[in-house]
Symmetry: C2
Subunit: 255 residues, 2 copies
């Protein structure tokens, strides 16, 4: 080792942005910090990486310790390292992101998390540290992803209606989509299994229920398929169905 070897007292953390979808809203799982700095503020579930721990494993461990959520697939998104982002010293943080079905998990705060709760992404206050920025960067990534892959299924309960799926896409993309074109595209991908069941207890015509075909999805990815969501190019016209715009577009897009 040379004289100045670049090592100094510093730390790495991981921060997780966990997206879910519920009540027509895109949500993110946040904890209320029970520890300084920023005690009492809402923050992403994140914590220090141990000296003998890989980043990816740390993300998984920290998420479970703080929120009780385990067995999720976390994907690295970006690393944030502004000099003053942590008041106690030099800390760089690696942001991870995941999409989960809210109904599949019970959130249980522990460790430094006083509470753990789902928050609507569309109305978030300022978070601890630079976590607002981190969340936003994950959200942008999700928007990109959702146009490229049939990503939404991870966020819905096992059985869902096409309208729910459409609402999910609309919530993520913040744009209305055309019902008929959306259905046409989604169904043409053959990723859905029609369960031949219908909703119960709704005060209107009940919708058919579908489930996501995991094995077809894997084929889809293996084939290098992707699809794209496009917004309509047409100008607003203010009548009839004109509010429902946008298409789901599947491309054969081999690498």
């Amino acid at each position: 080792m040379t004289d100045f070897d670049g090592f100094f007292k510093s730390a790495f953390t991981v921060d997780n942005v966990i997206f879910g979808f519920d009540e027509g809203d895109l949500k993110a799982l946040l904890i209320k910090r029970g520890e300084d700095p920023h005690q009492g503020m809402w923050a992403l579930p994140g914590y220090f990486v141990d000296p003998q721990e890989d980043l990816d494993s740390a993300a998984v461990r920290v998420l479970e310790q703080l929120t009780g959520i385990k067995d999720v697939f976390l994907e690295q998104v970006h690393t944030f390292g502004a000099v003053d982002r942590h008041p106690f010293g030099r800390v760089i943080t690696v942001a991870y992101c995941s999409l989960i079905k809210i109904s599949d998990y019970t959130v249980q705060a522990s460790s430094i998390a006083q509470k753990a709760k789902w928050h609507s992404v569309s109305r978030l206050k300022k978070l601890a540290f630079d976590h607002s920025e981190i969340l936003e960067s994950c959200l942008n990534r999700l928007k990109r992803l959702v146009r490229t892959r049939p990503v939404g299924f991870e966020l819905l309960p096992p059985k869902f209606t096409l309208t729910e799926l459409q609402h999910l896409y609309e919530a993520i993309l913040e744009t209305p989509l055309d019902k008929r074109n959306f259905r046409k595209k989604i169904l043409s991908m053959n990723l859905l299994i029609d369960l031949d069941e219908t909703q119960e207890g709704v005060a209107h015509r009940p919708a058919r229920l579908y489930e996501f075909d995991q094995s077809k999805y894997e084929e889809f990815l293996a084939d290098g398929f992707s699809f794209e969501l496009k917004e309509s190019k047409r100008k607003e016209k203010g009548n009839g169905e004109a509010l429902s715009k946008g298409q789901l577009v599947k491309n054969t897009d081999k690498l």
Copy 2:
């Protein structure tokens, strides 16, 4: 600060993957390390981040110190943090990537770089640390990028022919493209300025020279436009033009 505060003696580095294009080949800029660990091995130009330095600035500084290359736009790609990736201790590294015109820069090794040299990406040996893995992840990203944005212009000299541009795309994507469709697409994007000049000193019909229209490119990005490259779906047929496949595809793909 709590008792265990997560801080320990550790380090962050940045590693830069600088792509260029020359002699029909995609190249990456590497340094020969003049310092342990891995002295004498080829490596990405990377070094320690100073305690009072942002990650992005560190990437820029380190690149200049090691190779003399400055004023490049570096984009963060991924962070690598395997526990044993550095023999001297816990070091996580943030990988940055850039595309430059080789002819615009003079490479000048200094600091711990014994040499700095462009290497063909297609025939690389094992690099120091986990740098092979890092380079590969940047290459994958480049492949994705090149389908989504007219990215290649950064890699070519100011004046270039359409055939050179096509070769660049073919080199990055490792797939042949159809000449007529490629030209049609590229020209329809209106990102090229026809210089009304032709090549000189070539032993065949000289090609027209084009330059990249920077202002149109900025419009393009602002409009959220993107384009996509697709490979042909057809089966090999072994006759005539059948070798030239693939298309350049422009989409209006507003977010």
